[in-house]
Amino acid sequence: MDASQLSIREINSLFTKKELKPSELYSKVFENAANSEAALHAHLTLFEEENIKKAAESDKRFSKDESASLLDGIPIAIKDNINIKNYKTTCSSKMLSNYTSPYDATVIKKLKEHNALFTGKTNLDEFAMGSSTENSAFGLTKNPWNTDYVPGGSSGGSAASVGARSSIAALGSDTGGSIRQPASFCGLVGFKPTYGTVSRFGLVAFASSLDQIGPITKTVDDSRIIFSSISGKDSRDATSVINNQLDIPSDNAATIGVIKELMEDGISDEAKNEVNKVVEILKSKGYKVKEISIPIIKLSISIYYLIAPAECSANLARFDGVRYGLRIDGNTSYEMMENTRAEGFGAEVKRRILLGTYALSAGYYDEYYGKALQARKEMIDEFAETFKDFDYLISPTTPTQAFKSGEKTSNPLEMYMSDLCTIPANLAGLPAISIPTGLSKDELPLGVQVMSKPLSDNSLLDFSEIIENEVQFDGQPKGWL
């Protein structure tokens, strides 16, 4: 039996029955990483030596029947824009290549309280800006299903790590689809919780009103376990909320909407077929499924690419060569800042900072940023109206299967379009999940996305697990174990 293939609950059961030790699993995932890392480059750093002692402590707790958490001894990879004290947090940027975190993010503090083991920091698009992990200053990550293809992004390293079984689960961050899209491209579950349920303290900010931390896992239940461990109000994140979950039906009393605008032009037949397959299954189980039109969804990319860059331009103003990160000298402080930011940021980050600066600049604020805010509010209202009649909304997670490395790098707008289906959940703060459902004719994974109303995360996970059990997708990338 290969324990790295199992779910968290199955692993915990073996630990509890003393049929497997955390240190044995820990060795196994690093063996897997040794087999795949040169080809995939999922991680920027691996922590093997540092955590051997912690794995041994987990061994001891299970041997004495003293373990109290499902995550005790579970090897988890962390996206490198989440701070772990005394480790580097680079955000895959030259700007932070030498930055060592002096504190733990709240999610890390919580995972440590659960005695989870950290396997390493994973590669991402610089400052989480991208959809392919091709914008990293430290090299590309490849898709474990086929290394000619991208793993998605920005949490591509986290998805490749779990895909190649170099970790049992991973944390990512999702601003416009950065958890769900790579999960879909790599045949995994990716869950973006309701905005505010998971603290953002210690996540390097990209677009604060959209960013959320969440899990990338093999199963829906693994995502549920991690979500329940990392969520909760945090006084260090003023936007976090008490996780008072709403109970909505997940059985066939639920009404399902298929979003018309995400089943039209620009969406591949293969992606639509996966949704239709799930719809047929749900209908056969007695669910009411109807098409629903939410016209403002068509403007998602336009709204997002004003709001996210505007917030990014403000958030990334902190990288000025004064308090941390890179410094390139200049004769004056101002020259030093301009030189530092010219050298420290990559092309996509510069593109978004400039776009955001423009959208916020005098004379353009009202027609760009102001208008985008109004449209965003309208979208939130339209979703609220829709959820009066529907419990869950289904769509493809991505318009197509994974694309080839280099295929979209010369056309930023085309790259942005790959987030068409995922962005609405960020704009409206909704919980959303990608569930792997099948393979394309190129033998690459495809996924289906489900969204529900704010704070119905647990019900969404229950409903997703029903889909997961019915679809029975058991594919996995070959050649890494």
Partner: protein, 96 residues
């Protein structure tokens, strides 16, 4: 909506020193993106939203009491500084 912009001026506002080559390629990219986002200009909106930060769960947010909590030490706060002296950040002069 206008899509005319002065890339040098925007770069100055953003404090990024751009090479000539970067100015050209970024101008081109930004024109394409702005043309796309201009789709918003035709939208007739009901909302008069003017708040900068939109929280989907705004009703759930609460003010919290001020509390003294553990924070970074002075040493930790300055530990990543490119240059420091006597516990302070050192920067080049602000004026030549």
């Amino acid at each position: 909506m206008s899509d005319e912009f002065n890339i040098k001026n925007i770069a100055k506002l953003a404090s990024i020193n751009l090479s000539e080559e970067e100015q050209d390629s970024l101008s081109n990219d930004l024109s394409i993106i702005l043309e796309h986002v201009n789709a918003l200009s035709d939208l007739k909106l009901n909302s008069q939203q003017q708040e900068i930060f939109i929280h989907p769960l705004a009703k759930e947010l609460e003010l919290q009491d001020d509390q003294v909590v553990e924070s970074l030490t002075h040493h930790e706060a300055i530990s990543n500084a490119p240059e420091s002296k006597d516990g302070k950040f050192v920067v080049p002069p602000s004026m030549e």
